[in-house]
Amino acid sequence: MRPFDHARAASVRDALDLAAARPGAVFIAGGSDLVPLWKDGVSAPPAVIDISRLPLDHIDVADGAIAIGALARMADVADHPVIRRDAPAVAEALLASASPQLRNAATIGGNLLQRTRCPYFRTPGFPCNKRAAGSGCSARGGDDRRHAIFGASERCAATHASDLAVALVALDASVELCGPDGSRTVGIEDLHVAPGDRPERETVLRPGELITAIRVPASALARRSRYLKVRDRASFDFAVVSVAAALDIADGQVREARIAAGGVGTVPWRLRGSERALRGARCADPDGVGSPGIDDAAARATDGARPLGRNGFKLELLRRCVRRVLAELTGALEPRGAGGAA
């Protein structure tokens, strides 16, 4: 572990100036991912810029959207009454993430930027193209049980680990960024990039750029949303497979559907085939019970999937997760505990 220097930013401007002044310096807020990566020798920043005191932890509603400051803690977002009522998939995804201690410390901006949990990436003794470009991928021919069935390249098949990001994709959220060249907004689906030929590059963030806020459109879709997560352990584990779904149902008919999956993609993965199967589907009764679109949506969930040696089980698991979360959202099944095993 190479010691690093520290500086505390007094404002967003100050943070950007500090980043410009010290090449290689990284922003730190909760530290929940950065500190283990440093201890494991995966990253060795020369300096950290403490942004934890910046006034970016608000949660408020304006202009038809819920705005969440990037420094809001996971626990505080999950507990917020507006999030629980108007974007339940976000609250459920956060409560199914990590442990209470981590949720008290980790920020939602940092959650979106966490690095993959691929054990080869996190163990410097193994070749890994994401950690050391061109060194090879140890998951190819290795233990690929937890790896991606969507979006992998020859160079990398590591999954994206954030539950929150999956829920945000289903809710059509966007991310506000601030950097040396000013502010910009990117859709959550455009934030993360699939590995392709450059697995070391995981997001569209430019050098010195910060996430300042997340915006979730307030909509009927977001209000009828749910997150289901299947883990190897009962709690405190990353997703083997997870599904976030959001439905806008009016007069017994699905007007709009958005579905995204976690644990299966190199980036949070949108299930467009399942969405198409649901749009226009009629519910069996006016209360929304038993939509006939559910079977089709589940069958289409694995369109385009390419399983590796040991993760073919994710195909059926993903289809069943889609079926369950849709059944719960349309009232055909009693909901289980948020984040509970399917």
């Binding site: 010691p3 520290h6 010290r22 730190i28 530290g31 950290v48 442990s99 209470p100 201690q101 008290n104």
Partner: protein, 159 residues
């Protein structure tokens, strides 16, 4: 306030009720500070990666993993460790319940379990045994004293 880069930082913290002015290395964790600089060895260094819970302490009343928090970032915070939990020789109700229910075997995870339980009571999320188990998922016990740990916390919480 440290606005330029330095390899050390001056911080003021209240630790177990006592105000302290400290100079800490920039890359020291709160756990390093407590154990190696202040001799408060109740918080344990086990996984040192935020996966086991043995280093759990309260910062401003909230339970966190001390192994993941940088000491230089705790300026102005109030830190409570197992050493500061008893009041005037009187054990905290969670401590008494752990004794009464024999909620430990080797004891290594116990300070973290107790601080986590104290934090949990403040959060008000444990309403029954299932939610209590879920809300204590951030603390592992390799001896497997979980039934007694759950019983002790339920007893103390009246859950």
């Amino acid at each position: 306030m440290t606005r330029s880069f330095a390899d050390r930082a001056d911080v003021t913290m209240t630790i177990n009720g006592e105000p302290r002015r400290l100079e800490v290395p920039a890359s020291a964790t709160l756990l390093d500070l407590l154990r190696d600089q202040l001799g408060l060895t109740g918080a344990k260094r086990a996984c040192d990666r935020g996966t086991c819970g043995a280093c759990t302490v309260l910062v401003d009343g909230r339970r966190i993993y001390a192994c993941l928090a940088l000491a230089a970032m705790q300026d102005g915070r109030c830190v409570l460790t197992i050493e500061g939990l008893a009041r005037g020789g009187e054990l905290h109700p969670i401590q008494r319940a752990f004794v009464a229910h024999d909620a430990l075997q080797c004891g290594y995870c116990t300070p973290g379990q107790i601080l986590s339980a104290v934090g949990l009571l403040g959060e008000g999320r444990a309403t029954d045994e299932e939610s209590l188990r879920e809300q204590m998922s951030g603390n592992l016990c390799r001896c497997g004293a979980y039934p007694q740990i759950v019983a002790a916390i339920r007893d103390a919480a009246g859950a």
